[in-house]
């Protein structure tokens, strides 16, 4: 049902399936992401969101189906391989080293060096400039990351991915466990990236109410397949809630029937 898209499609997955032993995580997933689009991927726990993400970022290999980047089929061998193709994932709290400064984190493993010493001054300057350009308000790039809030940390992780030439950004639950103010920081950042149009973004979210306003399109993943694909402007929190609740009721009914039979 999601055979749409056009020459502007940067990422396409077709008929992806993935099983873990007896458990079918994904049965048949097809979806696409257009250039500089923000796609909201929503679904209940266990719907297969994280499995799908891990396939796109090169962590899992699908049992069936194919992945196309810029129209060309690719077999993603590793996270590193996916990253070399411009696909980067930002996990909420895993990305940064708390004990290092903001600018060292921005340049982690891509440090600027005037051998044998680090070019701290240049890294500090560039990090500050990059964060300013992206509208991330970090008062002090010299601060240890441990001293920043969750939202600021995530913003830095996103900024780092963008700065390292990511073309497709996967944001995994970017707003989970975040206050309204913190969440607004991330939403502003995504909005800003969208406006500049250099990256395409998939936001994986549990709570679609928060992300609906910044998404161009919403895909709903249920039972290992995409059951819903609409522009965000043509749907509403109400419609999505109804879909999810209906699905939940159906599942409960099934379980009751099975238990009774």
């Amino acid at each position: 049902m999601t055979e749409g898209g056009n020459s502007q499609t940067v990422l396409r997955v077709e008929h992806i399936a993935k099983r873990f032993g007896a458990l079918t995580a994904l049965s048949d997933v097809s979806m696409h992401l257009d250039r500089s689009e923000v796609l909201g991927l929503i679904g209940d726990n266990g719907a297969g969101k994280s499995t799908l993400m891990k396939i796109i970022c090169g962590f899992h290999r699908p049992d069936a189906g194919r992945v196309l980047v810029d129209g060309e089929e690719v077999v993603l061998k590793s996270v590193k391989h996916a990253r070399s193709l411009g696909i980067d994932t930002v996990y909420q709290d895993l990305a940064l080293v708390n004990e290092l400064t903001v600018y060292h984190n921005m340049f982690l493993n891509r440090e600027l060096v005037r051998w044998p010493l680090l070019s701290n001054r240049r890294m500090r300057q560039l990090a500050k400039q990059e964060l300013d350009d992206m509208g991330v308000a970090i008062a002090d790039v010299d601060a240890e990351v441990a001293k920043l809030s969750g939202g600021q940390r995530q913003a830095i992780a996103v900024a780092r991915s963008v700065y390292s030439d990511a073309k497709i950004l996967l944001l995994d639950e970017p707003l989970a466990a975040m206050g309204a103010k913190e969440g607004a920081l991330i939403l502003d950042l995504v909005r800003d990236l969208k406006r500049k149009g250099q990256v395409s973004i998939i936001i994986i979210a549990h709570n679609y109410g928060q992300i609906l306003e910044i998404c161009d399109r919403i895909n709903l993943l249920q039972h290992g397949t995409i059951t819903f694909d609409k522009p965000a402007a043509e749907t509403s929190v109400q419609e999505l809630t109804d879909l999810v609740v209906a699905e939940y009721r159906a599942a409960m009914a099934r379980r009751a029937a099975e238990g009774g039979g």
Binding site: L96, L108, N109
Partner: protein
Amino acid sequence: MSKTIERVDRSGQAPPRHPVRHALRRVGDAFLRRREASVLLVAIGLGIYFASARSVFLSRDNLVNISQATAPAAIVAIGEVFLLVSGELDLSVGAVFALAPFLMHYAVDYYGVPPLPAILLALVIAAAIGFVNGFITVVLRVPSFVTTLGTLFIVIGIVLTTSHAYPAEIPAAADGTVSRWFGRGDWSEITWCLLLVAFFHVVLTRTRWGLHTISVGGNLLGATEAGIRAGRIKMGNFMMASVLGAFAGILDAFRIHTIDPNLGGGTTITFTAISAAVIGGTALAGGSGTIVGAFLGALVLAILLNGFNLIGVNANPMFVVQGVAILVAMIANVYLSRLRRAGRS
């Protein structure tokens, strides 16, 4: 940083009565924010106390004594700091400390190797021991505590077996200029120590190696995700710790002018070095630590030992003193870092 300055300025605007006090507080803030500061204060405090209690404390001979007690522990501590920061630990380094002078002795006296290449050979073998430690820990995934406990016994066994548990004399060929340069001269050990502390301080704080060591210990998953080869970093640090231990052992053997299978007291030098690192503000959990702090930690322990000795406390209760010093330092560290965090946010 800028936030703190803001805060101070604001409080300074309303009642502009104590500009000097505010300036002092700002300097004080900046000083306290350095992790080494508290240890330095303790070292100075102890120095003043013992100097006033016994005037001989500041005599040249006694300062040489203190420097010679500080240096080997501090050099071993450098290696331990790198390992602790990257999230590992080396218990075997004390045994390597005792083995290295014997290796030099065997090479010179049994194989006719000149002294300097013999020292180099001992360091290379130490590097190989460090490699084994790293390999077992990183590749075979045995916790470094267990790995190095094993190699500790193996290396002690090698020392005792090959030496028949008897001390050996410094090889005649090395007993002259070489020995003077490598530990026998009064200020030789501390000079090496300060050079190494300065060098490795820069390595830890200003190079990629240091940054990646911190990253691996601070967030192993994140560092690996960013493409840092954590195994290589850890392996390198194991080798470095072993080589530094061996070098300190050779210096100490030249200093006491005998090659003793019990040099460094077996595990005592290891634990003194780890204590120095911890007192200096290195976290056992990984991710943070300072070389200068470890040096100051070793200095504090040496001053304590020396000072209590001078005022007539004998050696036995010194273990109690060392234990209390570690606990006090750690409690102070926890408390100060909480203060520091409060000062920033």
